[in-house]
């Protein structure tokens, strides 16, 4: 085998190793999430926090809420769609707000909502 062929083969091998690593990582983190209850937690928090924000949004008086989480989550709202993730690379659990909620993005184990401002 000539030198170019050997280089191509090495690159090819590296590419497949990377592909396998990505597939294994995403599969194992998904399965891990299913076993340790992370996926269920995200699903529950997305509905619970989403509904709580919805209820607060139409309160006639000023109201403040502290929403404590058991661990740090990435919580963001884009176009009235709440997304909950615990890591950067994973599928988020979503909730569609009933009210119009401003966009926000936080990474915390505590969400504060006051006068429709979320921090």
């Amino acid at each position: 085998m000539n030198k170019i062929g050997a280089t191509q083969k090495t690159l090819f091998f590296i590419f497949f190793i990377l592909m396998a690593a990505i597939i294994l990582y995403s599969t194992s983190s998904y399965i891990q999430g299913q076993f340790n209850g992370d996926e269920f937690n995200k699903e529950f928090i997305s509905r619970d926090l989403g509904l709580a924000i919805d209820v607060l949004s139409f309160s006639p008086e000023s109201i403040e809420m502290n929403y404590n989480l058991t661990k740090e989550f990435m919580i963001e709202s884009r176009k009235s769609n709440l997304r909950i993730k615990s890591k950067d690379i994973e599928i988020a659990k979503e909730y569609n707000f009933i009210s119009k909620v401003n966009d926000f993005s936080i990474k915390s184990n505590n969400v504060k909502i006051k006068d429709n401002k979320i921090s």
Binding site: G5, Q8, K9, F12, F16, M19, A20, I23, T27, Y30, I31, Q34, F35, F40, E43, F44, R47, L51, D54, V55, F58, P60, S80, N96, F97, I98, S99, K100
Partner: protein, 151 residues
């Protein structure tokens, strides 16, 4: 073995491994099947938002009056713009012998006659006795709200 043959061999191998992993994930997924059913709660929040939110139907005088709805706000455009939902919603307002109906997300809202099919549709109906403020005139009214969602 040349590169082309090896590529086909590896691609075939990746497809087999991918299918095997998918199979494992599907089996595990079905074993740990969970569902957070918040349909009743979402319907409850929608109904309360319609009645209590000043952007929907609630009458706003000196302050937002709870239990009083504004006749001028009872139109499709206003209610559609205050709600962001995919559920079908049917509102029926009866007052002084008159009856008006508004449908939001008509594709679902007009399926109210199919609500007997409990496996396909999830329908919730609630009626509220309210005061209708029609240009400062207060009239007793009854508002029936149906929420219809696909299961």
């Amino acid at each position: 073995m040349d590169i082309a043959k090896e590529s086909v061999y590896w691609i075939f191998r990746i497809i087999i491994i991918g299918l095997a992993l998918l199979f494992v994930i599907l089996i595990l997924g079905s074993m740990m099947d969970y569902e957070v059913d918040s349909n009743d709660l979402e319907s409850y929040v929608i109904r309360n938002k319609i009645i209590l939110d000043k952007d929907c139907l609630a009458y706003e005088g000196y302050r937002t009056e709870l239990g009083i709805i504004d006749a001028n706000k009872f139109n499709k455009n206003n209610i559609a713009s205050c709600l962001n939902t995919k559920k079908g919603i049917a509102l029926n307002l009866t007052y002084d012998g008159y009856s008006e109906t508004i449908l939001i997300n008509e594709d679902l809202a007009d399926k109210i006659d199919f609500c007997f099919d409990e496996e396909t549709f999830s329908c919730i109906r609630k009626g509220y006795n309210l005061i209708l403020n029609d240009n400062l005139q207060e009239i007793p009214a009854r508002l029936i709200i149906d929420t219809i969602a696909l299961k």
